[in-house]
Amino acid sequence: MFLQLFDIIFYFFATVTLISAGIVVFSKNIVRSAFSLVFTFFGIAGLYVLLNADFVAVAQLFVYVGGILVLLLFAVMLTQKISNLQMKITTLHPIIAIILVASLIGVLCGIVRMNDWRIITISEIPQSTAQSIGKALITTHILPFEIISVILLVAIIGAAMLARKSEKKS
């Protein structure tokens, strides 16, 4: 009974994620795309919760839904005349693309079927993961943690360059 409920919740979130992601890609209206992205992120956060990854789920909500998406919406809204803009979403080589994507999906599905999954039954109620993640970040994973700051630095420089007015020949 418990498992069935779990399954239902899983499929619900998965459907929400997929459908909204489809709308993001296929919609010709940029505002509609931006809004359906909310549901995609939300669905993914739900999936994280189901996987006992509570910290990641919250981070997903905070960072993506709360931060990035809001920024994105602001940008879309503040840009003039963007709401009526028809976006070009034609595919250049549909047949090749279909073949490639289909074969990739086929391979992955085949592997999923071939794989012998280990089924782990969880006996105890899962603990919060925030503590162990925090610990890992400043002990074993301190180097990656620090390196990420460098990536962010580069991203900032890049963004600044894009935003800067084009310099006339100096």
């Binding site: 071939m114 994973h141 180097l143 990656p144 390196i147 460098v150 630095l153 580069v154 420089i157 084009s166």
Partner: protein, 474 residues
């Protein structure tokens, strides 16, 4: 509780120096109004210091930061290579940027940071570090590729590179996730100890996806589409960095990732690599024939050379790995030389890049023409230049692992490549020039090009100098 020890810090000293240097450059850039020269020289001093530190850490052999990165040996060796490339790109860029009117100071900062990414890639003992290294390097490259912001090609290059690069990163991450899923760890050393899981389909799928990600970074067919446009659209010295440092870094972590945990004997995966390699050699060289723009030609040539290096990986032997490392050095030097000379000839608005513009250069600029021909002969793989020794090693490794067909494709495509490499030589020496415009040759750039050419020559005649070092790396 100690999270890391002093030994960790000493071991990763070169990396830390480079990180520090990049921050310093950023600060100097912000503090002083017109600090081009200062930023330039501080950058070079920083990189020289890092080379010194790498030499110091070279004899060490350990891991640092809870088995996240390798220290000494292999890592130090590649650090020196990347830093040398960085210094040469610096030297080439100074006058080139001036000429092209793009003299912005973040340029140098970005180069230094991208080199720190490369260094991470070569010293990674963990898939996470590989990923982070690739990201640092790539993000820098995306920005650098779009440096010609006023130009359409510049924007096209950056956007194309960014979109396809992000796509490839997706594959890379997916692969890492699958490997983590089967192994419960991302650490390469620990993965390599878990022999039971090697035949796990999910594990192999993970490596397959990783392979796609890497193939994109090294521009191997069929993931090469970005290379010609990006190489053409970027500033020439940036192209030089991408085609040498970028490729060398990707291969350095490719070797680490694929030779440590795979126990080198997965026939299917090796076969896939062999096919990628053959396709790259064929397509790179055949398309290279049709190019009229020299930068585009070199882009296709770089695709082909990725194919040659994959030969070593496909063979899966020690000989092959040594071959790749040697080839990387010779290829980096050669390409730096070629792009360096091209950047000297390039006109301010990006002209002077077609074959016709090189007509009669042999009499107009004899030294540079001679050096460029030397680079071309080395790329073809004609002795006594370094390119030949590299090819010899790689093809020997292929023959050794029963991949003679691959070696035959290799030599046949080398033959094809002769034609387009020689075309430059033909134009330079056997045709007369129509134009008599003066070409200004900046001394810094000239010095670095000469230095690189001497390297090509020395490593071609005395390959043992470096081969003896390479042999003890892995």
């Amino acid at each position: 509780m100690e999270f890391f020890s002093k030994a960790d810090l000493i071991g990763t000293l070169p990396l830390l120096v480079v990180f520090g240097c990049s921050l310093l450059l950023l600060l100097l850039d912000a503090l002083f109004k017109d600090a081009k020269k200062l930023v330039f020289s501080v950058g070079i001093i920083g990189m020289l210091t890092a080379i010194g530190c790498s030499l110091y850490t070279f004899p060490l052999s350990a891991t640092a930061f809870s088995d996240m990165v390798l220290v000494g040996g292999y890592a130090s060796f590649f650090n020196i290579l990347f830093l040398t490339i960085g210094i040469i790109v610096f030297l080439l860029s100074y006058s080139y940027l001036e000429k092209q009117h793009y003299h912005l100071k973040e340029f140098y900062t970005l180069i230094v940071i991208s080199i720190s990414g490369m260094m991470l890639m070569a010293s990674s003992a963990d898939l996470i570090i590989i990923f982070l290294g690739i990201e640092i390097m790539s993000v820098c490259f995306y920005v650098l590729a779009g440096y010609k912001r006023i130009k359409v090609e510049g924007n096209e290059a950056a956007l194309k590179y960014f979109l396809l690069g992000a796509f490839a990163t997706g594959f890379l991450l997916y692969g890492i996730a699958l490997i983590y899923g089967t192994m419960g760890t991302t650490n390469l050393i620990r993965i390599s100890q878990n022999f039971d899981a090697f035949s796990h389909p999910l594990y192999l799928a993970g490596w397959g996806l990783l392979l796609i990600g890497f193939s994109f970074k090294i521009a191997a067919v069929p993931f090469h589409m970005w290379a010609p446009d990006v190489y053409e659209g970027s500033l020439t010295t940036v192209t030089a960095l991408m085609s040498t440092g970028g490729k060398a870094a990707a291969f350095s972590s490719f070797i680490l990732a694929f030779s440590i945990p795979l126990s080198m004997h997965n026939e299917k995966l090796m076969m896939v690599i062999a096919i990628l390699s053959a396709a790259s050699m064929l397509i790179g060289n055949v398309f290279g024939l049709a190019q009229k723009n020299i930068k585009r030609m070199l882009a296709y040539s770089s695709i082909a050379h990725a194919g040659y290096m994959l030969v070593g990986l496909a063979s899966g032997t020690k000989l092959g790995m040594d071959g790749i490392i040697f080839y990387l050095i010779s290829y980096s030097l050669t390409n730096l030389g070629a792009f360096g000379i091209i950047s000297i000839f390039e006109k301010e608005n990006g002209g002077n890049l077609s074959y016709e513009d090189y007509a009669g250069l042999g009499s107009r600029k004899p030294i540079l023409a001679a050096l460029l021909s030397l680079c071309m002969f080395s790329l073809v793989g004609i002795p006594p230049f370094a390119g030949f020794i590299g090819k010899y090693y790689l093809f020997a490794s292929a023959v050794q692992s029963n991949l003679t067909w691959l070696a035959i494709i290799g030599v046949m495509t080398s033959l094809v490549s002769t034609y387009y490499y020689l075309r430059i030589v033909v134009y330079m020496y056997f045709r007369e020039s129509q134009q008599s415009e003066l070409i200004f040759v900046p001394s810094l750039a000239l010095a670095s090009v000469v230095l690189v050419s001497i390297g090509i020559f020395i490593f071609g005649i005395f390959p043992s100098l470096i081969l003896n070092v390479i042999q003890n790396l892995l």
